[in-house]
Symmetry: C2
Subunit: 421 residues, 2 copies
């Protein structure tokens, strides 16, 4: 709770500057006012319209570091935090840093959120695919990483880093803790930078799964700054907040030499700074209301309602997709997507060829035209040759999902009737 | 003015959603409420927290296109507008598009705002310097462009584009209309893309100068889409608004083939979209209050006060610098900077060499340590060999400038006394 000694001088400050802000203040909870004051106090001249330090406002990075410490139980350093306009620019910065020539390779999952392949291509590097195993619910097998690394090295590629998306986009897989330990050990042993896309860390629906950051895993294995280079990407665009249009994000950049750190800081400086509202949001997602705060109960209820609704939506869509002819769909344990596999009839594949489009894209276009429902074809994420998928978000409002499922089911029946052959 | 028929349904809409917003509305002018409603109406689901079209929200691009038309008197197409997180990402996108190998060259002014050199280096291209002529107040001479182009081509460089910063950063020069015509003719004749950094378009202080966009100039010369490829960068970070921390900006991208346009759209898509608050700000700077609006008078008074104060500050600093021993400073006709030249004594140059720093950086460090005043040394922007400069913003509050000038003058005297030799 905000004490009167704290509140009164602030109100006096604001009453001098603006009656409008004063009116707003009367409508807000004590802890949100205190949080707003704390944030303003951390910004030089209280000016959210001015450039900040190129890594982001120091006080906000302090908040994020504290949030990481509370999440992981291991220390975090605000100087390791780089605030960015969403997670995408942070990924580009890392690719820029890691890729010096086309001989430099980055291990990326297939299927993958295509930002990674796009960024590797833009920076002129080599994309080395490792396949997630659909048969075991999109598991990440270390033997597959080892094989792809070995093959790439035998071709002379200088493999620099491993990208892991956890929870998975588009797969919805949440990695098991034991698997994460293997991945950390693999990166440490092979000298690879671990690029951990952890933007869905709040989106875990499977009761037997939990999100662990790769930083927590590696520190709990006793690996410190000297043992492994590790970058964690996070964003205000997902979770239960979903403020994607605000472009708030950060990366935690650990285990690099001062020389490399200087280069990444120089890269950050070229664009001056990320947007201040996004910076504030990124700090807020890592410092949500706490037990005892006036707003805690409503915050907590809203958060739980959103996440449990998402879990129900994921389950409804999973069941719906599994009931369709020729479609199999693994459980979305986390993230915001279903990624069903669809066995397309030969006639549909032939029709797609004639239309000069990938078979799953052909299916997605037909679906869009028939129902207005947008899914992204698996070929946009990569998939094993001869398999076809689509990604469907679990984001439509819960009350609208039955109607969507019904339209989808009807379309699918008609599509299969047309092409079953 | 906002009519009751328009206002009442909106108030009813808001009263359903939030009493807080209603309270805010009662405190605002009618035209700002109408503008806010118009903006919300242009955003799907009125959600400023959602991703937008990768080029930016269509309705905001419409506003910007109308603003460009009103400014130039020539048509502008909202499909040519790309909203970006400040102007910097737009510059990077253009460099990404134009530079395919180190053989691709970009003509850039010296001195220049170092974003350009940094972006060319990051994208692996060749930076071709052309020198602005300090003796004539940093004029841009076509003969210099021709010479540098010829030399670069004779070295086998594929010169793709010319960067022009107008009003100039750091020079403060505002180009004459006749000079702009020569530049357009040069680019058209030589087949160069004209990259026009026009972020200081509102910052013109010289009574005999006026800002003309390169689009207006080229269209008034009768050159259309087919004749010249032209990109204009603009930003909410400068002008009389100066909301740099909000990261709002756009580029107007004209005179490119549909194939190239598709590539730039693909590039924009990789990062999803720019931040929505910044998008809104970019649209607002191109659609300010108009005569008859309730807020027009206060807007207009505030704008004029800011710009005339900046003009006075520029003049005070120019006079102050010109009164210092060995310092000459051209008039800042526009932008936000003075860029004086300083003839450093040999002893100071020697001391800088011993300190392993550039002589003007040496001066700037000494100034900072002695007075707390930050200037950026000319070596950060590029300058003719053997000349030394520093860039000083005209942004300190007007009432603080006399004290700054006095501290600066005192420092300079002591510095010269120490090193005069």
């Amino acid at each position: 709770m905000l004490s009167a000694e704290k509140l009164l001088p602030m109100l006096r400050y604001y009453s001098k500057t603006s009656r409008r802000i004063q009116a707003l203040i009367r409508l807000m909870s004590a802890d949100s006012i205190e949080r707003a004051i704390q944030i303003l106090d951390q910004i030089p001249c209280r000016a959210t319209g001015a450039y900040s330090h190129s890594q982001g406002i120091k006080g906000l990075r302090d908040k994020i570091a504290s949030g990481i410490e509370a999440r992981d139980g291991f220390p975090a350093d605000p100087n390791d935090i780089f605030l960015t306009d969403g997670a995408s620019p942070a990924v580009h910065m890392m690719m820029q840093l890691l890729i010096g020539s086309e001989n430099d390779g980055i291990l990326c999952p297939i299927p993958q959120y295509p930002l990674y392949s796009a960024s590797i291509t833009l920076h002129g590097g080599t994309h080395i695919s490792y396949y997630l195993d659909e048969e075991t619910g999109w598991a990440l097998e270390i033997s597959e990483l080892e094989n792809q690394l070995k093959t790439a090295r035998s071709r002379g590629v200088n493999v620099k880093a491993l990208v892991v998306i956890n929870p998975g986009n588009p797969t919805g897989r949440v990695l098991a803790e034991a698997n994460q330990r293997e991945i950390v050990e693999f990166c440490r042993k092979e000298g690879l930078v671990l690029l951990a896309d952890e933007v869905y860390q709040e989106n875990v629906y499977a009761p037997d799964k939990q999100f662990y950051s790769f930083k927590k895993i590696s520190r709990s294995m006793g690996f410190g700054e000297k043992d492994i280079s590790l970058v964690s990407f996070h964003s205000a665009s997902k979770g239960y907040y979903g403020e994607c249009g605000k472009r708030g994000g950060y990366m935690e950049f650990t285990g690099f030499s001062p020389e490399i750190r200087e280069q990444i800081y120089k890269l950050a400086s070229v664009n001056l700074c990320s947007n201040i509202s996004g910076q504030i949001l990124a700090s807020l997602i890592m410092s949500p209301p706490k037990v005892g705060d006036e707003s805690y109960e409503s915050f907590s209820a809203e958060k739980d309602a959103i996440l449990s609704s998402l879990a129900r939506r994921a389950k409804i869509l999973e069941d719906a997709f599994n009931s369709l002819e020729g479609v199999t769909c693994y459980k979305a344990e986390g993230a915001l997507y279903s990624f069903p596999r669809i066995n397309l009839p030969d006639k549909a594949i032939k029709a797609a060829e004639e239309a000069k489009t990938a078979p799953d894209a052909f299916y997605a276009w037909r679906l869009l035209n028939a129902t207005g429902i947008v899914v992204v074809s698996g070929s946009g994420f990569g998939q094993r040759a001869g398999t076809w998928h689509f990604r469907c978000t679990i984001l439509p409002q819960e009350e609208k999902i039955p109607a969507i499922v019904s339209r989808f089911t009807q379309f699918h029946k008609q599509f299969m009737d047309e092409f079953r052959g």
